[in-house]
Amino acid sequence: MTLPVTTLDNLIEIENLTFTRGERIIFNDISLSIPSGKVTAIMGPSGIGKTTLLRLIGGQIKPNSGKILFSGKNIPSLSRHDLYETRKRMSMLFQSGALFTDMNVYDNIAFPIREHTDLSENIIEKIVLMKLEAVGLRGARDLQPNELSGGMARRVALARAIALEPELILYDEPFAGQDPISMGVIVSLIRSLSDALGLTSIVVSHDVPEVMSIADYIYIIAEQKIIGHGTPDQIRQDESPLVKQFVQGKADGPVPFHYQAPSYQSELIQLSSEVHGRGKI
């Protein structure tokens, strides 16, 4: 299955995006498209700006140049009012969960519904319980966020993210730090939300096996560029050394494992000669 790069079926089109932070270039002229109703994964080593990309799509930060089209509207050039209107159609699962610490689990999930709809408490309760049931935490409705484990907090956050059934969900590292059972729940939830409700999902992650198992399409980002893209099968068979290194998880290869530094040997030699010099005095 090959997805066409540009069609009208793409919910998001990113064109020639460049983003820098201070002197450091994070993205250099990247383009990608996110098809509607599919699970698209964005992978890459940590610190490569994957979360930044989600924030760019959510309009929390602005790129230096390039377009981010969300169903045809360019996010960076929207007015504050239009941006907030557009955000009602998307939601984001933060890595930390970002639950409101002054509310219990129930109120956290009810929050977006109360903010954006005029539904009666009776209906809100039904929706919240349905979402909690989906993540297996109906029994935790009265707990405070500080009483939840990290994995549970993420599942509550997921329930909150799908409370209003948005068109687009941005997942920031949904698998990081999950035990195998929670991981299974989240993996199947992401997949079934897309299959059953037709939600568009963007999953940012570096967990290769989980992403391979649920993504319809994968982009791999490294060194400010998209180094490879395709369906999981295409990625597995990709001959590019960059992609191979990432998928197989090797430290040696074109993507450096070490942060930029002078050579280890010369640094050690320099250190020992300094100690030697001091000893003489």
């Binding site: 924030r55 907030y84 955000r87 929050f111």
Partner: protein, 258 residues
């Protein structure tokens, strides 16, 4: 770094910080009011910012009034002027100590809490997640906290002065034996509503504006790390205390200098 470079850098940082603070305040306050949502949020903040500061204000006010009466009496009685104890205590509290000491206590009790709370909300991505839920954190988090502080402090200052006068009455009249009728009637005669009470209220309104503004700005603008939050909390207390004292001098000069 050269001293001149340092001066330039700090000045630029100060000016850009001021700019950000003004933008924050304007964008938090200038939006279409929605009483159904805004009023419950404001009440909640009035409780945590104002009501929870009551104890420290009442206790401090009481003690300060008692000390004023004790010190005032020992000085005044030497001139046979202990009848002036009432106005002395009332004027010190209404004009100066009420607004200033309440503002200092408020900065320590409520200002620091506001900064730390907002800073931690930023660090734990709660503000970002509000934004992504299409709920403006300025409207939802910042505005109710600002209004709560702005409304609470003048009321707390009034309570402070009132409790202080009662404390002075306790020491001066009940303990040291100043005549109660004299204490109250000379006070009533000497205290002018416009000159003393109104000016005191104006002072505490100005302090309320400044202290709350600094507290919310420092929290919203802090570096979202534990060190950043601790620095922001400290600088809320230090900067608002210093500004309150400096502004008090300026306001006193404008109001009372002849």
């Amino acid at each position: 770094m050269l001293p001149l470079q340092l001066l330039g850098r700090n000045t630029l940082a100060l000016i850009s910080g001021l700019g950000r603070a003004v933008i924050l305040l304007l964008s938090a306050l200038l939006h279409k009011p929605n009483p159904r949502k805004d009023i419950p949020l404001l009440l909640q903040q009035l409780y945590s910012v104002g009501v929870k500061s009551l104890i420290i204000i009442v206790v401090s006010g009481g003690f300060i009034g008692m000390v004023l009466a004790l010190q005032g009496y020992t000085i005044l009685v030497g001139y046979g002027a202990e009848a002036s104890l009432g106005p002395m205590v009332a004027l010190s509290l209404l004009r100066e100590l009420g607004p200033v000491v309440s503002a200092l206590l408020f900065a320590g009790r409520a200002g620091s809490a506001l900064t730390a709370e907002i800073g931690l909300m930023k660090a734990t991505e709660q503000l970002s997640s509000l934004e992504m839920m299409a709920v403006d954190p300025l409207r939802r988090v910042i505005a109710p906290r600002f209004w709560a502080g702005f409304i609470s402090l003048p009321l707390l200052a009034a309570i402070f002065s009132m409790v202080g006068i009662l404390g002075a009455h306790l020491v001066g009249v009940d303990w040291l034996g100043v005549d109660a009728g004299t204490f109250w009637s000379v006070m009533q005669d000497q205290v002018d509503f416009n000159k003393d009470i109104l000016n005191g209220i104006i002072k505490s309104v100005v302090f309320a504006f400044v202290v709350t503004w600094i507290a919310i700005y420092k929290g919203y603008d802090c570096e979202p790390t534990s060190e950043g939050i601790s620095r922001a909390t400290t600088s809320t207390v230090v900067q608002s205390s210093l500004l309150v004292l400096a502004l008090d001098f300026i306001l006193t000069a404008l109001m009372f200098a002849r």
